[in-house]
Amino acid sequence: MATMSHEILSSLPLSLRRRFASLDKYTKEIADRQLEDRNLTKKRRREFLRDHLVGIQGAVLAISVCRYLEDGIAAAEGAITIARSLNVDGFTVGNTDFSEKSADLAQWRELHSALEALLKEYAIDHYATGRHAWDHVSNMLKALLDGKVD
């Protein structure tokens, strides 16, 4: 059965798949490291990760893709704002014009909003505070180990 991460990765275009392909491995490493910092024995860590790693990895990937969309949109908006302040409408990338009325940018925003809504619907957004995978894993471990979720 495909994991959540596999489902998400398989639906991304190649350029994004490449970017996030190794995130699962990184997430596992930092989860294990944080569990060790919490003084869990090796056996207990192994059991915990067997039960929860798939969820943690899927959530970290979903949050990371959402943040990447957010960052890309922010970069486009930032560049347009600066260009406009210098009396230029925006900038162009290949056949795409990025200006205030850019239809492509509007679609990026819509997709980002829809993804954010899904993160909320599946209660992944609770763990999205902070900017780094380390923070998100930490949030999840705290919730799981402190018995705030089951």
Partner: protein, 256 residues
Amino acid sequence: MAKWIDTAKAGDAIKKLFGDNKQTISHFGQTVNQVFEAFTFCAVIKWYEQQQWIIEIVNPIDGKTKKPCTLVKLKFSTRGRPSSYSYARCTKNGQPAIEVRHQLRVSTRHYRGGYPLANVCLDVAIVQIDSGDLDHFGTDDAIPNDRLVSFGEAKHMSAYAELVASFIGMVHEMQPQRLKRVRRGNWPQVHVAPFLYVSGHLYSTAKGIYATIQRRKYDIDIYSDTVELAKGFKLPKHNPPAAAKAPAVGQSGGGN
């Protein structure tokens, strides 16, 4: 007690979302790296404007309309004549005029002429040249290193130690004088310092090297995402959505 994530349903829902918006997510994936570069380029120009430089955006002539383009056109490849792309000409009383260029080829500090050539295409290059000097430049022509004021590199990945070390190597090739104990007391802050911008995170290994760079007072900066770059260049008003929640990433970098 709250329920843990239903990974099967969440995975299916996200997959469906991207499946339904295949064209949009593909367009994002194909374009976003260039967008980050455009933002970096614009941020540098804005920094100069905030330092009271007068900015003139020079756009290339549109082949169809025979008039200057209305949008900034950047050079997203190492190939191409500089005159075919937009740049900013910056002037300020008492300072030699400079130009902010994208993907400009610049000779390395130790190049002494002849073959083989030694030059690098810089993602953002700030150069001191007379107006029109680059109009006749071809795709392989490089400007002399002594014309280089500063530069920036944009990488579309998270930064690990090796990437930061590689950037230091680039600074060593282009502007070795930056790799001395420059940032002591009131060091001159006339121009942006050479910087590395990564669109991802700074891994802890990269943070470690950056901490030693700061300790050694090198005159370079590292920014780990759009929020950091915007903060570092002290860009006005426009705050990306996540800015309020962003923690420090271990650097206090600022353009100088």
